[in-house]
């Protein structure tokens, strides 16, 4: 099998569908969060009023950035404690037909941190270590709320961006409830039903024991899979019901479901760019970002695709076999769908996998790694947009100087305070990837979990911390994460990776909100041009490359060069 026309068209078609659905959906999101009325207002409004009354929220209260952030952090903290307790106590709680015991403290911490941060890194195997109660009440629940948290953070930031000398970023409780009632729940219900129709199980019955023709028995795990699968993708969560994630036939039975799952994970991250464009009342700005980010996504997907269909030259040489690299891939998806999934799950920071990233060719591994290091090729729900805005801030600062004005973003002056906070947000990502990786590769606790020696083992560790820091959650596999060392270190990285940048961005939103909007003149640097857009891409690519180049040189780049030198040697 080579690089096929059908495969290429397939990849492009999926991306086109995502954009085709996401862009109009962004308009809907804008209306939801600016108080617009929905066609189903009669359904939503009374239900929401009931919820406000139940939790005792006055929906007309406006919050400044500190109040908003405080509420957000408090809710997240409470939910994390709640999830932790469920994981610890699931052995004695109901809905546990397979009698799964409670988790160890470190694994429970890692898992709670993982799901509260929308990372969905899984150091546990779902079918063996998670009861149905845990899957529903902790996992599925957090897959809703963590997605909602990132989402409202982005919305609050956008409000600050367009405010004119105001303090208010909206009301956290109202936003949180509306994300659920008007966005996530309806979409998830519909998608779950579709998945059930396409063969994904949804049951509370325990594992099925099957008797094979040879007379042996086989345990077939099942459970409330479809409901989890739906929000797993829609919320860019990625934490699967089963250990094998979307490579498992119950999570992702056919090529069609795989395509649908990709569309589901791309829907909201791409929609939010359109919402952003609506907020700042500048369609061109959104268009520029769409074009450039989509181009990067396509380039990434095709780099993976090209390398995978190219196959492993060493295998070709040693065994005389030719053909694509199928190790770690499912036959029902094939290289094109698998490659697209690799690129998208890391671009949208979902972290679901339908192919084993550990088995990718070295240059293919570079793509998911880079996407997670950039963390803004659309990026995860809300936080992706926040990262885009953070790098826009830095780009505007540099290029604003170059046109001879003290820099401004969408009419707001950028001063030392904003730069300080943006720098913190920018700094935390490389810190959380490089420092723990460096510690892990020189400690026994770190290296003993590696499945492979040499450069590939290094990549495994680098990938784990990159995935955790980016709140992606896709696993490279090949690394045993369920040790106290990795449970703790990855858990802490996930928490810091999520909240440090959210806090910094909220503080920026607060200080931007207070500023007056300066009207545009011909001397203002326009950010909605492709010229500026290219500078934006250059800035985050160069900063990313400069930061991670040494690590990547030891990892995938080194591995690729080693592989090539072996061929020459023969």
């Amino acid at each position: 099998m080579r690089f096929t026309v059908a495969g290429s068209i397939g990849i492009l078609a999926i991306i086109a569908i995502i954009l085709g659905l996401g862009i109009p959906f962004g308009g809907y999101l804008y209306r939801v969060f600016t108080g617009g009325h929905s066609r189903f207002e009669a359904v939503f409004a009374p239900f929401e009023r009931l919820l406000y009354r139940l939790v005792g929220v006055n929906p007309s209260v406006q919050m400044d950035w500190k109040a908003y952030l405080r509420a957000l952090m408090l809710v997240n903290f409470m939910m994390m404690i709640f999830a932790y307790l469920i994981f610890r106590l699931q052995g004695i709680l109901p809905f546990n037909p397979d009698h799964i015991p409670g988790m160890s403290w470190d694994l429970a911490f890692n898992t709670a941190a993982s799901f509260i941060t929308n990372t969905n890194w899984q150091n546990y195997a779902g079918e063996q270590s998670m009861s149905y109660l845990g899957q529903m009440l902790a996992i599925t629940y957090l897959q809703f709320t963590s997605a909602a948290t990132g989402f409202v953070a982005a919305i609050a930031f956008l409000r600050g961006l367009v405010a004119h000398k105001s303090e208010s970023l909206g009301n956290f409780w109202v936003d949180l409830i509306k994300v659920h009632t008007r966005v996530l729940l309806p979409l998830a219900v519909v998608f779950a039903v579709v998945l059930v129709g396409l063969g994904v199980p949804q049951t509370l019955l325990g594992a099925q024991i099957a008797h094979t023709l040879q007379g042996s028995t086989q345990t077939i795990s099942r459970g409330p899979v479809a409901s989890l699968e739906a929000i797993k993708q829609l919320g860019t969560n990625g934490g699967g019901f089963f250990n094998a994630n979307s490579a498992h036939p119950f999570e992702d039975p056919t090529a069609l479901t795989s395509v649908l799952e990709m569309i589901a994970m791309g829907l909201i991250p791409t929609a939010l760019l359109a919402t952003f464009g609506k907020f700042i009342a500048n369609r061109r700005q959104a268009v520029v970002l769409y074009v450039l980010l989509t181009a990067l996504l396509i380039i990434g997907a095709f780099i993976v695709y090209a390398n995978e269909v190219g196959g492993n030259p060493l295998v070709h040489q040693a065994l005389g076999l030719s053909g694509p690299n199928m190790e770690g891939k499912e036959w029902r998806f094939g290289p094109a769908l698998s490659s697209a999934f690799v690129a998208m799950t890391t671009a949208f920071t979902t972290g679901a996998v339908n192919t084993m990233h550990d088995s990718l060719m070295p240059l293919s591994q570079l793509v998911p790694l880079l996407f997670m290091m950039f963390n803004l090729i659309f990026g995860g729900k809300g936080v992706g947009l926040l990262n885009i805005l953070m790098f826009l801030l830095i780009t505007v600062f540099l290029s604003g100087l170059m046109v001879g004005r003290t820099p401004e973003i969408f009419g707001k002056k950028i001063e030392a305070r904003e730069m300080k906070l943006a720098t913190v947000a920018m700094l935390v990502h490389p810190f959380l990837i490089l420092v723990p990786t460096a510690i892990a590769v020189v400690t026994k606790a770190g290296t003993s979990s590696m499945l492979n020696p040499g450069l590939h083992g290094f990549t495994e560790v680098l990938y784990a911390f990159t995935s955790a820091a980016a709140n992606n959650g896709s696993a490279f596999a090949g690394l045993n994460g369920n040790t106290v060392f990795y449970n703790l270190s990855l858990g802490i990285v996930m928490l810091l990776g999520r909240y440090v940048s959210i806090i910094a961005m909220f503080a920026i939103a607060g200080s931007l909100a207070k500023k007056a909007i300066i009207p545009q003149t011909s001397g203002t640097l326009r950010t909605d041009t492709f010229a500026f857009g290219s500078v934006f891409v250059a800035v985050f690519v160069i900063v990313g490359a400069l930061t991670f180049f040494p690590a990547l040189a030891i990892g995938p780049i080194g591995e690729q060069l080693q592989m090539m030198s072996h061929i020459v040697g023969h």
Binding site: L434, L455, G558, L561
Partner: protein
């Protein structure tokens, strides 16, 4: 003072700067610049290493010490280059300050005692409120306000302008500056400042850079640079453990070399020099900015408010047309107009005579020496000539002339009113011309826009700056001038409060406003504006309120100041971009050099084919150092600014400094590597 000392670099400044470069090595001074401070720490560590390469553990191999020493020396040179850049910028300011200080030394004053007698005291003992007497030929001992007298003052020590100016009690020309010389008459002056706070003191402090504080934008950029330094700190710190994993060790000197190469040393070294040079450029234009912040704000101005009279127009109305009325010919009108203006020395009167000459009509004054000249007065609002034969010639305000005619029982021609209105509608001022009791016609007086103003406003528009003209004229007149000069907007019949209101309204919309002014009633608006350019000829109050003072008293200077502000920011952005872009090539030099022993296939990344790992690292480090002095001229002169759209400006500068910054070090490092190899240092 600025004009004479405009030479860029004198030997004196350079030798002083070299001395200063070493003085500034003091860590207490250097810590204010975090990027260069990191380099200094690196220097100290490599110094220790070159004495004992194993002091921090690790193993010793031959040549290690030489290598460590080379790294230490290059780091020291890097810091010295940075210090030198700052010292040169400061040195140029100091040279100007010294010439100012000369004006200040050994002044004495005649202070009035409470008894009314005068005592001679050193100028430094004068306090606010003291009253001093200055006699022709004396130096004015302190800044103050003239209470009595009128005299001409030589202010060349401050302004460089040799023509003396008139200073006198009351009005807008009552302020005098210490260190200037009274040329005629005698003045009583009330001292307005305490010692050390005078205008001259402020100027000295400013040009010396002593009171220089980081501007908001400089602070923001420093934060970003510190952030990048931290990121690269993390990158470098994590490199050794990663190398350990692949069974190697990098060595401390090499790690430090890598760190110094990556952190933005180029902009870090030049940042304060750029700021000082920016202030200096403003001073070269004979404008004193009271803070760097003001210069920076100038680059951001959205709205520029300019007075009409004296700024946009040359200040006097000039005759531009003769319009006869009541059946008189133009020739008759011109003759009468010229005779009535023959001895009129006002600019208006002269312009009538000049215009008539252009039209072929002129009379010799000598023929009218026996005539009686009637001067203009506020009562009659007309002027003219009574000839010896009794003929009366007058020109003056139309209603005054009409009243005069009617008082003599005559009536004015019927088309006078309509033609008068016609002139007013076009924004001109009509003067009626009378012979005897008969009105011959009108002189069309027009405000003349200064040559080149239209082009300047066009330039401002391309910079994205809106110009607003302020005038006391009626809206019709104002509109005409506004159109002719090409300003974007105007306020007519403006009172000082209106200016203030306009500034506040613009600022309310988030715009930055600049204005110039000289009168005391301009002071509140000057203080409110983001950039207030006070004229040196103006009152003390205006000069105190503004954040810039123009020594040449040319309000249109604001346009140059805006350009300088922009240039300052562009230079900062360009060198920052260049600095970061350089890192790409340095990586390609250093990463393969570091890891090639552990992962031989990484040699493929050595695209420059550098001779050895050591030469690769040393070349990158040397390039990093010498780029600093190479960019000093750019930092001093500033990147050229041409008004064009922001996007094309961005692309142009990005191509030059971004893409250029990626490519240049590839070439530079390769050349240095060839040199090092030729000198035999490649395998130390």
């Amino acid at each position: 003072m600025a004009k004479q000392s405009a030479k860029t670099l004198t030997g004196e400044i350079v030798s002083h700067a070299i001395r200063e470069a070493f003085v500034k090595l003091d860590p207490r001074i250097l810590i204010r610049n975090p990027v260069m401070f990191v380099v200094e720490i690196g220097f100290l560590i490599t110094c220790i290493l070159s004495l004992d390469p194993t002091i921090f553990g690790g193993y010793h191999h031959p040549g290690q010490r030489t290598y460590d020493l080379l790294v230490a020396v290059i780091l020291l040179i890097t810091i010295l280059f940075g210090n030198f850049a700052e010292a040169v910028a400061e040195g140029r300011g100091k040279a100007q300050a010294d010439s100012l200080r000369k004006a200040k030394t050994d002044l004495t004053a005649q202070r009035r005692k409470s008894s009314g007698e005068y005592e001679v005291v050193p100028a430094t003992t004068l306090r606010k409120g003291d009253i001093v007497r200055v006699i022709a030929g004396d130096m004015i001992p302190a800044d103050g306000e003239v209470l009595e007298g009128l005299g001409s003052v030589d202010e060349s020590a401050i302004t460089g302008e040799s023509a003396p100016v008139i200073r006198g009690a009351g009005g807008d020309f009552s302020s005098v500056t210490g260190g200037t010389k009274l040329l005629s008459d005698e003045l009583m002056i009330q001292v307005k400042v305490d010692p050390g706070e005078s205008f001259l003191d402020q100027m000295i402090r400013l040009v010396e850079g002593a009171s220089r504080q980081k501007t908001p934008n400089e602070l923001a950029l420093s934060v970003l640079l510190a952030g990048l330094t931290l990121i690269f700190g993390i990158v470098v710190d994590t490199l050794e453990p990663m190398a350990t994993y692949v069974h190697g060790s990098i060595g401390i000197a090499t790690l430090i070399a890598l760190l110094v190469c990556l952190i933005p040393t180029t902009i870090g070294a030049l940042l304060s020099a750029i700021g000082i040079a920016g202030m200096d450029r403003v001073i070269r234009f004979n404008v004193i900015a009271k803070s760097g912040k003001a210069v920076e704000a100038a680059g951001d101005i959205n709205t520029l408010i300019l007075d009409k009279t004296g700024t946009i127009t040359i200040g006097n109305r000039l005759a531009s047309e003769f319009i006869p009325v009541g059946g008189h010919t133009e020739k008759e009108l011109i003759e009468s107009a010229v005779i009535s203006s023959l001895f009129d020395e006002t600019p208006e009167g002269r312009s009538v005579v000049d215009l008539a000459r252009e039209r072929g009509v002129s009379f010799a004054r000598e023929a009218y020496t026996d005539a009686e000249n009637i001067e203009f007065s506020a009562d009659t609002r007309m002027s003219g000539l009574n000839l010896a034969d009794g003929t009366i010639y007058r020109k003056g305000a139309v209603d005054a002339i009409r009243r005069y005619v009617e008082e003599h029982g005559e009536s004015v021609p019927s088309d006078l009113a309509q033609k008068t209105e016609g002139i007013a509608k076009e924004g001109g001022t009509p003067l009626a011309v009378l012979r005897g009791t008969e009105v011959y016609g009108l002189i069309y007086l027009k405000d003349i826009v200064k040559p080149g103003m239209r082009e300047r406003f066009e330039k401002l528009r391309r910079m994205g700056i809106k110009t607003v003209m302020c005038t006391g004229d009626n809206p019709l007149t104002a509109a005409t001038i506004a159109k002719e000069a090409g300003v974007d907007d105007f306020i007519a019949e403006a009172k000082p409060e209106d200016k203030m209101r306009l500034i506040k309204a613009e600022q309310e919309q988030g715009k930055l406003v600049a204005m110039s002014g000289d009168g005391t009633n301009d002071a509140p608006a000057l203080a409110q504006a983001d950039v207030g350019l006070a004229m040196n000829s103006g009152t003390m109050a205006a000069k105190e309120a503004g954040n810039m003072v123009d020594l040449d008293s040319d309000p249109t200077k604001l346009i140059e100041v805006v350009s300088i502000g922009k240039q300052l920011l562009i230079t900062r952005g360009a060198i920052t971009t260049f600095s970061i872009a350089n890192d790409v090539a340095k990586y390609f030099a250093i990463i393969p050099a570091i890891f090639v022993k552990m992962i031989p296939s990484l040699q493929a990344l050595n695209v420059m084919r550098l001779t050895s790992p050591q030469s690769a690292i040393l070349s990158a480090l040397i390039f990093n150092a010498i780029i600093i002095p190479m960019l000093i001229p750019l930092a001093m002169k500033g990147v050229q600014y041409r008004p064009m759209s922001a996007t094309s400006l961005l692309l142009r500068n990005l191509l030059l400094y971004g893409v250029g910054g990626v490519i240049a070090p590839f070439i530079g490092i390769k050349l240095i590597d060839l040199l090092i190899t030729a000198l035999g240092f490649a395998h130390v």
